[in-house]
Symmetry: C2
Subunit: 526 residues, 2 copies
């Protein structure tokens, strides 16, 4: 009897062991697929999905039925933030670092050692990381980090990037995304914009040129009547095909060049917006938006057809606020993101607040809204958590905080967190518009120039290095940043300024340099 | 008690079921990796590994220590065959079809609809598949087939090609190997040769050109002092890295551009061969060979370092016989493959017999020699058998026969099999050399011009369409094809000619066309 019990026990133990092993085996294919659907320069209101408490006028201008479809299944984030220009956001996404820490504080050029800062009276700029991202030390002026795709790849993910990379200039390994952990890289390099969206233009490659900014790697579509957003969608589907054949989970970093300049008509949608009364440039812009939206729909359809919708998470995001200059936009400058103030390149909400939707089947509540304020670097720990990658080490310290709690319950809200935007530079792109339309304005009036901002709870404090003044806004009551409450709330200003200083010190941030004294200039009240 | 037994039985059943499932799960990672290490234009004696019964003079000229290392672990095939030029072999490798069936009977140009046949008196050429390989009907003059990489990919293999593709001209989907089932494709397109082997020449891309023949996709090495064979090796290692991260088995089609023209010095090895007394061109050629051999060694080292040597099969092969023209080679023309007769483009052994080594850890007997005659299309069923892919369907009929029996026992020998080389065309490349050196010879004397040949057992019969004569050789006693035994063995000639006709009919072969009558010309005795 004793004998029998032992055998019994052994059999049971064996069963459990095998069962556990089987479970471990099974876990791998069960890991979810993750799609980061990244749009370029898309503003917070450039969509028929309202991200604010009430619809913005723009929400009636743009048709994005597939964003509506995604929002109806998932959760939209009303207060999602990027940096005000593109490379800082993109480096944050794949490193989990705030830009004050990674020091890629402005957009990177396509060649090495070419800082892109515009001049500003009485200031020089720090020696920031204008050579972008690197995975190991050795190249000057790079942010050295262990990138997200590498970690996912080592965890067995098929990692693919389709579309805009812009992690580093040509000549730095990270200009080729395969060097930061992507198994597959399509049409992705140092280029920050396409020279043309048209297959009939060979996407800008018709004219040979050193450091060509034509989109590379899409030769199969050259000469065809196909829009870039469509070609990238077909390539994204091919990348997913591969992962499905390999029976591995995938991480697809699907990074549209749309809706960045050059503003060109996507003829599938252009006429509709002309008919709607938009001027020709704005109609082109709207067609870029809807072409991108169609791509989102095609991706969702693909997931349905391949029966992987239930196991695929989609994260929709833009890399900075909407461009609001004229030219290249039509219409009134700095008003394109209304009710948000200003646009790309600015520290105001129009420059940094972006559309964001997350759909995690079975987890996110259909049609919900999360008010948690989050930032680009939060995607890093979030995606790793979704992928169940827990055992990893990185060279860099991670600033991002997972927003998985907000995915699980959209009402989750942590008001103790402080977000940071640090821009010790000047974005030159807007100066012409500014001088043309607002000859008597300061560039600070549209949120340009060297700035640092923090947000905690509903409060946002901005420090302007050029003028030395601060602005304080309560975003809950004043999303348009019209009422500067700094004088009315001196204690809150002091408190947030101290928090700003702590954050900057903790991240070992760089600062603008006084041309007169040669010393760095830190945020402080006069 | 009854109850108990039932529970017992159920527990046992559960254990077995789970165990079987576990086994099924485990099988996948356990599938072997397969490397097809393909060299371009490498002759049978261009190595220090003797493939004949006794060493050839060349075996003392070339240093290929890593081929020796591979041969000492595996089995070398003394009688391995390709077609006499490159695209026919490459299409056979990935389709399992004999070239008489796939009808890509000559090399393909980089542009569509550009047959490469040289003229020949009194003959026109059939409308062969000069547009190469296709995976579905629709493009004229293509061989439609289900390619090997697709089947492996669908079976969960990470399929990568690094180096020369040359499956079809630009404009045909298969010119991009990702369209025939390769998940990854590096430096691989319609190009059949590199414009330069030097990184300092940007591998020939310095000069922009339509249908550029510079090697594409290696921009990261442009401007560097690196030889193409080395750059490809680094890329091959990266491809294997990816499969290891994904924990999937891989099929690496590693296809060197070496040792094809342009014959350029690989400076890591060049001086040694000059010192050895070779003329400068032949020293360059030898350096190309040894640079390729170093790559083989680097791959084997990589497998050791990554602890996958024991589960990785290496198949080493050349795509046709060694080039034996002067120029571009130095030395006496048509003698470079001695003791074999003639070279690339010829139906004689110098044009079709190639170096081949297979290493299957735990299966092949170290240092063994297999005398089984095999042909390029045999790789298709062999590789699928090694990969344990048994449940597959193809659009095409497979001519190849698995040589796994010869891998398991090198003495296995099937003398009943008939190999077929069908070349209803003329290879133009050699005509200048021929007229310069041998003004009174017929092109048939070096095995050029339209021909069909068969081999069964030790016997080889060649039919020359231009002259209407046949030649019969016993390869065991006369590997140099010096003694035409056709007159001495009329019965064997009849028998092999009948077999040739049956094979051609069964494969629905095309034939040269009489310019006079417009009718096809089939092999027959006068």
């Amino acid at each position: 009897m004793m004998q029998k019990t032992l055998i019994h026990g052994f059999a049971l133990l064996t069963c459990i062991t095998i069962s556990s092993m089987l479970h471990a085996q099974n876990q791998r294919p069960e890991r979810p697929n993750i799609i980061l659907f990244l749009v370029d320069d898309m503003g917070w209101t450039d969509t028929s999905v309202p991200f604010g408490d009430e619809p913005a006028p723009n929400n009636r201008v743009y048709d994005t039925p597939n964003m509506q479809r995604l929002a109806s299944k998932g959760v939209r984030f009303s207060d999602a933030y990027a940096q005000s220009v593109c490379t800082p956001t993109r480096v944050s996404l794949v490193t989990g670092m705030n830009s004050a820490r990674h020091r890629v504080t402005n957009w990177t050029n396509s060649g090495t050692n070419q800082p892109t800062d515009a001049p500003y009276p009485r200031f020089n700029w720090p020696d920031w990381n204008y050579n972008g991202l690197a995975t190991e030390p050795g190249q000057t002026n790079t942010a050295v980090a262990t990138p997200l795709p590498s970690l996912l790849r080592k965890a067995g993910y098929y990692t693919a990037i389709v579309g805009k990379g812009h992690f580093a200039p040509y000549g730095v390994p990270a200009s080729n995304p395969e060097n930061i952990g992507f198994i597959e890289s399509v049409a992705s390099d140092a280029t920050g914009r396409p020279r043309s969206y048209l297959g009939t233009d060979n996407f800008g490659n018709s004219v040979p040129k050193t450091f060509d900014r034509g989109v590379r790697g899409l030769e199969a579509y050259h000469g065809q009547d196909i829009f870039l957003s469509e070609a990238l969608t077909l390539e994204a589907q091919k990348a997913m095909d591969k992962a499905l054949d390999l029976n591995t989970p995938f991480f697809l970093y699907f990074s549209h060049y749309a809706v960045h300049t050059p503003i060109m008509a996507d003829n599938r949608f252009y006429q509709k917006y002309l008919d709607r009364g938009l001027d020709s440039t704005e109609a082109k812009y709207a067609s870029l938006v809807e072409g991108m939206d169609k791509s989102l729909g095609d991706v969702m359809d693909y997931l349905d057809v391949r029966h992987i919708s239930d196991n695929t998470i989609i994260l929709f995001m833009s890399d900075n606020g909407g461009l609001s200059l004229n030219p290249p936009r039509g219409g009134a400058p700095f008003k394109h993101n209304y009710p948000l103030k200003s646009g790309k390149g600015a520290v105001y909400e129009g420059g940094i607040r972006v559309p964001m939707i997350a759909y995690w089947p079975g987890v996110t509540q259909p049609g919900s809204i999360a008010r948690q304020y989050i930032q680009a670097e939060d995607f890093f720990p979030t995606i790793l958590e979704i992928a169940r990658v827990t055992d990893y080490t990185t060279q860099q310290r991670i600033d991002g905080v997972s927003f998985v709690p907000s995915l699980k319950a959209s009402t989750a809200y942590d008001s103790s967190r402080t977000l940071l935007w640090h821009f010790p530079s000047n974005w030159g792109q807007g100066l012409g518009t500014l001088q043309k339309y607002f000859p008597v304005m300061r560039i600070e009036d549209v949120g340009f120039g060297p700035t640092t901002a923090v947000r905690r709870g509903d409060w946002k404090l901005i420090y302007f290095y050029g003028t030395g003044h601060v602005e304080l806004y309560n975003l809950r009551h004043d999303i348009g940043e019209a009422q500067n409450l700094a004088n009315a709330h001196p204690d809150r200003v002091q408190e947030l300024l101290a928090e700003m200083s702590r954050k900057l010190q903790e991240k070992d941030a760089q600062f603008p340099i006084s041309a007169q004294t040669g010393k760095v200039v830190r945020p402080k009240l006069p």
